[in-house]
Symmetry: C2
Subunit: 616 residues, 2 copies
């Protein structure tokens, strides 16, 4: 067999195996796999550089299936490469199998989970940025995308960022099979429609017949030879290619082939071709950035005032000096989040993502694929823009830090569009996440380096306003800890707060003390994991708990406390103070008062609790 | 004064007033207002058709500030139009003022809240779609966008949708002032960079000097004369135009002018021009769709099986027959959400949004601006893609229904990328939201028409799998209610569930009954608002509560129960069963078991609770 014959045969094998695995599973997407089979055949046979025995080899290329539902094709490639056995391939979608319905990094050759369309290409941009700007290695990033997902705006954030960054190490392979889940795509087989758009965004574009192996090969050669620009290969393909009963017909999305045996026969039967995917060559030493060694965190004078967002920026900059693997990203608000300090000190490790929060999180996910430790920052409210990317990042087992500033009504005059009031709820609900909400600048600084050592999605919420510095610079604050700020032997009530409301709680405790009511005050700066023991001790010792948060009543600090108590079967009275109104514009102090979460409201709630104890 | 002189003078007045209001507030964005002042001057003086005395006139044009931070400019226009007084304008950003930091519909002339960039244009597309396809009225939609927000992918979803729908009633006015918050935008003053992109997406594009009133006027004339295509006017402008101390300089974003008095003098001083904005003319009767009158909801036989997602689609279709104002949107998964039935029966009122969830929610928000009742559906997991749009929709006081199918691990083999496990938490946290999670097909059908009558963000979570039909077709289910499915006079434990887990709870109750343990079972189909009374009665009557949900442990059904109990100062033992693992692929039954939320795990938790009561 000559090369072309071999590639065509391999393409047929990938089709057959896509049918076999999805038929064994009774579900899956064989037709979406079959359209791209020739594209992947030629890629793995001649262009991909990858050592399946050493998936962590820094020289390896990266192959990301943005169209994650074509997982049967990916697994068929792994089988052809000898990475998995035929038997394992046929465990597709079974309980306990690594061969999941959509690819996840449970498999060592999968960089990131895909299956939420429009995310693979943005993440591929992140990996390619790592190659160009951080690792400084010549690996290539290949991304197989669908045509349906071109409707996702995130794809265009990716096209824009990739061209702007001159990512000639990135190739998007667009499988234009014309058919989506329910019918034809917007542009069907109008390759020009895609070409003019992607070219307008600054890419080199090649349009081909996606079943012509010679044309595919030539396109990959041209992509690899293209400099200063990423390349998009627009491949006209047929969904279900090769099986007349389904080829290029609507109604067969996400379904096994009805008569698999006949379809396999039509494709020429099962094959046992194996492909020796070329291993990467040459230098494999990623660039390392020089460091100053010792971590010198910023220190703030007790009794002064500083915003936790500023302390975050200061500490991140210090961490970047001590650790060369720490990188920062921002959504064009670096003078608000204070990543501008990191950008100034460590410009090579700063990524300006402009106002594209989805691409920002995707880039962070892509950078951590290569072992970098990204901190991505914007207003906490605008992290909501990337919520699906955060959700998928957890499935990708990604280790990323998200920093959200300007939390809550206490931002003041800007009004509700800029206020994060749902961030604690939405980020606590992410599997394996860490949620921090520091109250003080020194505490913030102490937590920042720990975030870089933690697995999963690590979120820190910071405050716009300057707040009193109450902890000494050398105090230790662990993730999962808390701090009892006020305590006596005969506390009557407990106030639990974090961030800006801690300072209101302290003022409330002062007012209560003047009334003869002793209040314990707990700084619950770590919401997930939470220091249940301290809460339980307070519950046991006092008449009840007032929780207070600059956040929606649902899913935030108050619910964290209720959950911790319920788990311990402790059930004291708990009064939740939270933002139950739709705020407008006002000063920070007016906002806290209007929302019922200032010192006065806290004291009032605590007095009622203390009275109920007396009367009980 | 001739027209051009008048327009220039009005532009200067808008600048002066933007400075005055932001200086009075001590915050705000005068420089971002000043760049667009001439664009808005000419618009309001000659092209806008709007009756400020009758903001609900269906013939009115719509003006949406996608760059919501330019609110001082918008308020200066209102003042020039005589809609607000100078005094009210100067209450900008004060407590209780309608003149908020970013525009919200607290003002009757503001359609939607903006301030999260990249949302105004997608919503404008929705309003323009209402004009073309539903109202069938000739009003125009004008949308002022910034250049920074071009980085948001959602803008490109909007450009794509608008051209695909031939929205020649839509004009985007792009204020290319070159400077973002922290520095220059990606493309600075390269109007061609924008032109080639937007033109590639199918728009008519006009590039002008945004301070040349004649060119602006000509561009609006050309936009209005353009058919079959939307028009984008790319206006090269100077941020801070007219004040040398700030004009076209970095570092003055979002800050009042330091020397306001000198700046106002430089602009020629205060003016008191008033503009009679032209009122709309002609026919003002929106199209109305014929209806069948009576609502005939689908009925499912008790003892049969049906998926709640299917019942949703059936009921929505029936509702559409009875109510001509109900419209449906889908993210290209209509054969999964069953909006395909609505699309088949009411094709004129169905909006295929392709895989662009942000644009889907934005369109829904735009359609409800004109009084239509949109139901937008996709997999619940993918609503996460539009979370910031949902957050902003609440601030817009929008009335929209979101339907999310395929919730939880019980979808089975597709794996975690397709599973909504954070949707209850994230949507409960939205201000004023309603969160429903029906357990049965007839119950689903009964709730659908109520959703169309409810204010705010109304979310229904549905299940992929067919589940037993347990309620009769004529049973009533109110939003805010619950249903006690099993009850005796001596219940020992309470099981609270919803959706697919209700059926597991019923099986668990059967198993417990065989052990001599009587379990009350509550179907908590309405999570927000919640039927606290039924929960409290159960808490008082039984040894404890087991909650079970196909969702993350944070912010879902269990936390809803804990919150309701805490508010009533009732504190029974509560055991929360939820999805604490990262799922893979498996059958629905295997998934429920692996996550510890199937009948067996529920019964086990209930037995432990009952035992603890005995031993206590």
């Amino acid at each position: 067999m000559n090369d072309h014959e071999l590639w065509r045969e391999l393409g047929q094998q990938l089709r057959v195996d896509s049918i076999r695995s999805s038929s064994a599973a009774g579900s899956g997407h064989p037709t979406s796999s079959m359209s791209a089979a020739d594209l992947m055949s030629v890629l793995m046979a001649r262009h991909l550089r990858y050592d399946f025995g050493q998936p962590d080899d820094p020289r390896n290329d990266h192959l990301i299936f943005s169209k994650g539902h074509a997982s049967p094709l990916l697994y068929a490639m792994y089988r052809a490469a000898g990475a998995i056995s035929d038997d394992e391939m046929l465990t597709f979608r079974q309980l306990g199998s690594r061969i999941e319905g959509h690819p996840t990094p449970v498999l060592p050759w999968v960089d990131v989970a895909t299956g939420s369309l429009g995310q693979g290409l943005p993440i591929a941009v992140g990996v390619a940025l790592a190659g160009k700007r951080l690792d400084r290695l010549p690996y290539r990033v290949w991304c197989l995308t669908g045509d349906s997902e071109m409707a996702e705006g995130s794809m265009w954030e990716a096209f824009e960022q990739a061209a702007f960054s001159g990512l000639d190490n990135l190739t998007a392979i667009v499988d234009v099979n014309r058919l989506g889940q329910t019918g034809a795509t917007r542009h069907e087989w109008d390759l020009d429609a895609y070409a003019v758009r992607i070219r307008a965004f600054g890419w080199h574009v090649i349009a081909i017949d996606g079943h012509d192996v010679a044309a595919i090969d030539a396109a990959y050669v041209e992509a690899a030879a293209t400099t200063a620009q990423p390349t998009a290969i627009l491949a006209r393909t047929e969904k279900g290619r090769g099986v007349a009963a389904v080829a290029n017909q609507n109604g067969f999305h996400g379904k096994p082939i009805a008569d698999a045996e006949a379809a396999i026969a039509e494709l020429g039967g099962e094959r046992r071709l194996s492909v020796s995917v070329a291993k990467p060559q040459g230098n494999g030493t990623p660039h390392r950035f020089p460091t100053s060694g010792e971590l010198r965190l910023p220190a703030y004078e007790v009794g002064g005032k500083e915003a936790t967002r500023k302390a975050f920026g200061d500490a991140l900059t210090a961490l970047g000096s001590a650790r060369g693997d720490v990188v920062a990203l921002d959504g064009e608000v670096g003078n608000s989040t204070y990543t501008e300090e990191f950008a100034g000190t460590h410009p090579e490790r700063f990524f300006q993502m402009y106002i594209a929060e989805q691409q920002m999180v995707a880039t962070a996910v892509g950078l951590q694929v290569r072992g970098w430790r990204p901190f991505a920052a914007t207003f906490a409210a605008f992290l909501a823009r990337a919520y699906d990317f955060v959700r998928m990042a957890a499935i990708s087992r990604a280790d990323i830090v998200l920093a959200g500033s300007h939390a809550g009504v206490s931002i003041g005059e800007d009004g509700p569009s800029q206020m994060a009031l749902e961030d604690l709820a939405s980020l606590r609900a992410i599997h394996g996440s860490t949620v921090l909400y520091p109250s003080d600048a020194n505490q913030t600084a102490a937590l920042v380096p720990q975030m870089a050592n933690r697995s999963g999605i690590v979120f820190m919420r910071t405050t716009r306003e300057k707040t009193p510095v109450i902890y000494a610079p050398d105090e230790a604050f662990a993730i999962g800890g808390s701090r009892v700020v006020r305590q006596t032997d005969d506390d009557q009530v407990t106030l639990v707060a974090a961030g800006i409301t801690l300072h209101e709680a302290i003022k409330a405790a002062d007012a209560l003390g003047a009334d003869g009511i002793s209040a314990r005050v707990i700084d619950l700066y770590s919401l997930k994991p939470v220091d249940a023991d301290t809460l339980l001790a307070a519950a046991a010792a006092t008449a009840g708990i007032v929780t207070v948060e600059d956040h929606s009543p649902e899913g935030g600090l108050g619910d964290t406390v209720l959950d911790a108590l319920a788990r311990a079967s402790l059930h004291p009275p708990v009064v939740k103070l939270a933002v139950r109104i739709m705020p407008g514009s006002a000063t920070p102090a007016e906002q806290l008062a209007a929302a019922g979460i200032d010192a006065e409201h806290i004291a009032e709630a605590a007095r009622a609790l203390a009275r109920s104890r007396v009367s009980a």
